[in-house]
Amino acid sequence: MRAHVAVALLRPTLRAVPWISVAAGALLGLILVAVPASLVELEPRGWATVLRLAAVAGAVGAAFLLDDPADRTTVVMPTPRLLRRAVRVALLLPLLALWWAAALLALRALAGAAQVDGLPLAGLTVEAVALLAAAIAIAALAGGTGDGGVTGAVGVLAGALLACLPPRPYALVLEPADPAWDGVHGMWALVIAAALIAFAVAGRDPGAQRLTHVLFRRPPWQ
């Protein structure tokens, strides 16, 4: 029954998503990769920064995914908010995967394979996924009325900037070939997990009973 509803939701959701914001972020991300790739030669460190900034641009755009001026009216629908939001994410995910692949391919095609070979693309992809997940999760947490995109965008920007600040041994943003690379990417995977949990919690309907109420409800005889 839920699957049936989800399929039925696909087309209207496709129309409701603010594609311009999402596309603006993705487009800027591609430009950020393509322009340096066709102009300059960088060290692996430089390309890692370029890819990270492209991921931040994509995440900033994707933060607006859940924005919906009609949120106050759809809240009364029997379809749970989590399902409605999940449909939006499901629509975006294949596109974002294609976008990230396109960014990596553009880098390889324009800068040459020799420039890209030393790059730990798997780790950078984990960071990109973490940024996207964090952006959408913050937007979901803030967007009780369908306007969390701003908070999500600013939040992921601030998070990305602050992640660069801690000095070693607490650094989260490392240069490729750093010995601590694998350990730090465990932290980034934790960010993804936390974002997923936050997304699920934020998807609870406002009318639903609070968890605390369910757990600590007074017995009816009192």
Binding site: P36, V40, T49, D147, G149, V154, L157
Partner: protein, 537 residues
Amino acid sequence: MSTTTERLPPGVAGESTANRIAVAWAVLALARVEVVRLLRHPAVLLALAAMAALWVTLRLGGATWTRFPVLHEQDRATQDLALLPGLAALVAGNLAVLRSRRDGTEELYGVLLLPRWARTGAHLLALLPLALLVGAAAAVHLAALAAAPGAVGQVNPWEVATGPALVLLLGAVGVLIGRVVPSAVAASLAVVLLLLAFDVMTSPVFGLPGRPVEWLTLVVGERLGQEGLTPDLLARPAIWHVAYLTGLALVVACGTLLRDRAPRIPLLAALVAAALGTVTAGALQLRPVSEEVRAARVAATERPSTRQTCETAGTVTYCTFAGYGAWIREWRPVVEAVRRLLPRGPAERPLVVRQRMVATNPAPEDGNSLAVPPPPLAAWRADDRAAGTPGAVTAGTAWGSGRDAFGLAGLVAHRATGATDADDVLCGGRAIVLLWLAARATPETATGFVEAMRASGGDVFFETAPYGPSVHVTERDVAVVQALLRLPTERVGDEIRADWDALTAAKVPTAKVAARFGLSAPPQPPKAERTVGTEGC
């Protein structure tokens, strides 16, 4: 008719003085509200907290630059951090401008007498207190650094003022974006673009660092080959850079107001004046370094003694550039610790420690040259002879790390063992005694020795001058020194003092020194595997 015009909003018609004053009051009242909202915006609070946290934690952690700060380098370091509140101002200013659109009240404002440009003006004015706050934070930070006992140099107030100017410029850009693009995504993406720009412009690949054109960007960092200059030789056009950034901020602000139909004539005049000022300041900061400063740099590099004051403590004389006197207190324990380990003769020989730097002038046609010329060793020898201090030991214009202490101790020991500047590879007795003295002197030099070893994978290099020739000690000798360091200091020290002449004579084989202390020297690597210059060891 005239009564009707006077009630119309200013900027539309009826430019009476009373109206102008009323609008000005309204703008100020609005600005007051916006100031509070901007200052307590989460992005701004987060940026200010991050800035403060970084300063405080590094201070508490005892980072080298907080214990021995060079104030004329730390003042410009506040600019990089001011980018954080600057970017926060861009985002927060933009969101404040778009607030009415988000809340759907833009149409309601249309019925107010106060015109749209006055609201924009209030948003722009609201940036001023944040800029002042950033400047005040930087001033407090620098005052705290200056209070450290190891602080040297002097703060350039214009370098401190650059941070607030950045905040104004970035905030004004945020307001402009808010008025041009009616979506919050634009400002966030602008921040990403700016971040890439900062990163690209500071990477040498782009060819900007070191060129005068670099001054047209927002923050200009340290140039390669220009580190460790005394304040009088820096010649950074900081004042013109502040004027340039403030001018840009005014141009953006006037442009935004004009777009919102502010009174045409005064604002056009202001825009033209700001643009002219920006172009003038922008051009003035691109001027090449003046001839006097170029000559002073050459003089300070080649004839340091002419610009220094000296202070004698016991048999050691310390000569420093103006403003660096506080470090004599830091050098003395290291120098004296090495000399305490020496036998009586070398320990009582007078010694001069002279501060030296290599202040290179960029070539006139291309300031981007990454090559740093070798230190003028011949000129230094001549300078020492002229000053009556032959054989002075070099101390640099940076201090605080273990490597710095180890370098100074190494040079004092180098001089004591009778090695000359011409020896670029030391081996055998001299090398072992020298490294043991330098590493044993103080706890700082001991950590410096370990760092030096780690930095070059077993061998040890230490510079006899900034960027200058290094003295190279091979891994084999270093291994003997490590073994010696594990023996009791008293015993090794006594035996070195007793056998000083035999141990520090030229070409004493490593194995013989090791055997002298009951150690076994590692085997000599085959000749083909030795590094260049060490074949004779």
